[in-house]
């Protein structure tokens, strides 16, 4: 079964450092997303990406965050200057269409980001 692959599974970084989280979405999917989950809290939407541009972003997704699809297979989330409160599990997701009719949104297993 096709899956969304995220690397690394765990990253520890110092406050103020830049991090790049990487994702390989399902190959024929057209819509790409980043969500995050702070320990013990709900899964929160960060950004959606379609046709090489951001289609929607949340209030969390400020100027410190950026996304990129550098080639035909990768989708990345960059945090320019990490803060302690950025510590969370970050999930990449992809979908073929805009709703759930095509099997929903497929999530990766996540990258646990720890900012120290």
């Amino acid at each position: 079964e096709p899956e969304v692959t995220q690397t690394p599974s765990h990253q520890v970084t110092q406050m103020g450092q830049e991090v790049i989280l990487r994702c390989v979405p399902i190959s024929n999917h057209l819509y790409f997303y980043w969500y995050r989950q702070i320990l013990g809290q709900k899964v929160e939407f960060l950004v959606s990406f379609y046709n090489n541009e951001i289609s929607e972003k949340s209030e969390i997704f400020d100027d410190q965050f950026s996304v990129e699809r550098p080639d035909g297979s990768n989708f990345t989330l960059k945090i320019r200057s990490t803060k302690l409160e950025d510590s969370a599990m970050y999930f990449c997701a992809s979908s073929y269409g805009t709703g759930g009719s095509s099997g929903g949104y497929t999530f990766g297993s996540g990258t646990r980001l720890t900012v120290v």
Binding site: V4, Y33, Q41, V43, S58, G99, G104, F107, S109
Partner: protein, 112 residues
Amino acid sequence: EDQVTQSPEALRLQEGESSSLNCSYTVSGLRGLFWYRQDPGKGPEFLFTLYSAGEEKEKERLKATLTKKESFLHITAPKPEDSATYLCAVQTLTGGGNKLTFGTGTQLKVEL
């Protein structure tokens, strides 16, 4: 603002003891309601999408239903392997990015 509330927060069942999880929502216009299963340290795993009141979907021991205000996930004769956190999420007609708004989940534990 879209809101999704799940109850109970945690549920402990004996194997074979059927029960229901609730997801109530307040949105400006519902496009779809999603159920996901999440195992510890893993990403959400898609279960169902419901689109309109009265719709039902089933998969093995799980059955999801939808009304205009809430959705239920019925678990019939659960097994220990059904233990997980069950997440409800809504997608609304507003916004251009198809985002999902999640509830906090129900943590289900099924014991022998």
